[in-house]
Amino acid sequence: MKTVVIGVIGADVHAVGNKIIDHVLTEYGFNVVNIGVLSSQEDFINAAIETNAKAILVSSLYGHGEMDCKYLRENCDEAGLGHVKLYVGGNIVVGKQDFKEVEQRFKKMGFDRVYPPGTNIEDAVKDLREDLGE
């Protein structure tokens, strides 16, 4: 059973999507480590180290995602999590922006997968399986 860390980064309290991601990924057979809302980069990194996770799924809904996610990739690498996949989804920037552009911005920041608003979490399961190996 692959372990994935999920949580909502920064000063963000949007809890609904997080609870549903937890439920759905668990149903799909993942070992879900949910650090919940209001989680810092360190929280994510520590949880991934402790649980030997294969992927970190960052949620950011409230718009500050761009600031909160800065250097997350670098900090993961430094902590020895270079092999861990980084996903991000939710409403990750402020306002309705062209998603192609937003995706580029976050890919440059080192995220492996970037999801637009309203993504059905089930659609990410395919990606997870692909990236982590069945």
Binding site: A15, V16, E27, G36, Y62, G63, M67, G95, E122
Partner: protein, 490 residues
Amino acid sequence: MIQNKKIPWEDFLKKREQILTHWETGSSPLLDLDKAVDRLKNMPDHKNFAKKLRKAKAEGITMIQPRAGVALLDQHIELMQFLEKHGEADFLPSTIDSYTRQNRYQNAQDGIKESERLGRSLLNGFPAVNYGVEGCMKVVDNINVPIQARHGTPDARLLTEIIHAAGWTSNEGGGISYNIPYAKNIGLEDTLRYWQYCDRLVGYYAEQGIELNREPYGPLTGTLVPPSISHTVAIIESILAAEQGVKNITVGYGQGGNVVQDIAALQTLDELTNYYLKLFGYNDVFVTTVFHQWMGGFPADEAKSMGVISLASTVATLGKATKMITKSPHESQGVPTKEANAEGLRASKIITRLLREQKFPSSKELKEEKEMIKKEVNALIYAILNVGKGDLAQGVIKGFARGLIDIPFAPSEMNAGKILPARDDQGKIRILEFGNLAFDEDIKTFHRERLEKRAKLENREVSFQMTIDDVYAVSQGTLVGKPRQKGVSA
């Protein structure tokens, strides 16, 4: 130990000194209370939130107010002016950014700088504390309608000081409603204290003859919250505010989706709040209601979003809400542009005006729904008061700890998080898991029967899957969530 008791003025002042040191703008000379009183006294009536609400209620009309706020002061003022002019907003907000809400003023300062550098707002709201009284004054001086701070700040004491001193005549929030949906591990004792402080300041102004409006935050998590639960919180926060001397309160409710349940909720919210305020001896509090357009996940499509917005406006107006908080066609995507925000306002405005002479007629179904809400609220308030041994503040703390009152989908660890809501066959919000919620068997049976009816229609069991389907439903264009097959995306 916190109690529902008015804060003695000297204690308040002592605390105040400390609060004003939390960020550099706290040292503004304009925070002198006499100066603030002067400024507020000089606010013309049309910029006074409390007075404009009184007028609206007397006329039986529904006022509209958006959510809006950006990082930079000039752009924020421009936004406010735009929404007043092109959105025909009756009231303006200033939605505060999420760093300020967590008292991370340094983060907010960075956000301002970064926004200046990139020329676009990187903050999801207006960092009012960083701009201080001077900045906030500039906002209100450049608009012609009353303005209110809208946030979600567990500890909003400095923010509250600043906005009122600047002439903002209303503040949203409360010790429960700005904690449970907006925080993870801040104690209720703390937030109740923080909000007693905010209310006490409003009470002080009231003693000086200045009527300010206070608005407990109604929709909580905005996600399948049964009316009786949000009503209970609204009523408790009204009583707590009244004790501190607040005289003008707007209680809120977020659209559920079933028209009759929503109308019943609006009517009972007004009736019950007035009833309980009087029961507790607060006889001179003026109560109005605010209806929040759909607070859950929106459809991605803009035209459909306009449909949702307009449906909400119809319900608010026929339910005689005094105020309505509007959404925009960008809701599912992100903080709206000013144009999109104004579109939501204008669609809302025409409906409130077209239907202003009309009212939802009473009916058997409506009466039943109202009775049910009243029964439930009475049960919850009784249990909370009882566990608090007569003190409401204590009751809140213990009531939440024991799950006697419980809010679905809340992030806070102070919340039991045991109840699960779901819609019945007509889309009315009911409860399928009660946890320790202080409902008697009669009430529970009622909920279960209604949910069973839906389950039968859908040929499945009552379960958490129903709740999940309902969470997604509106964004996918239905109210009652359709059963989804696992692995198949909708």
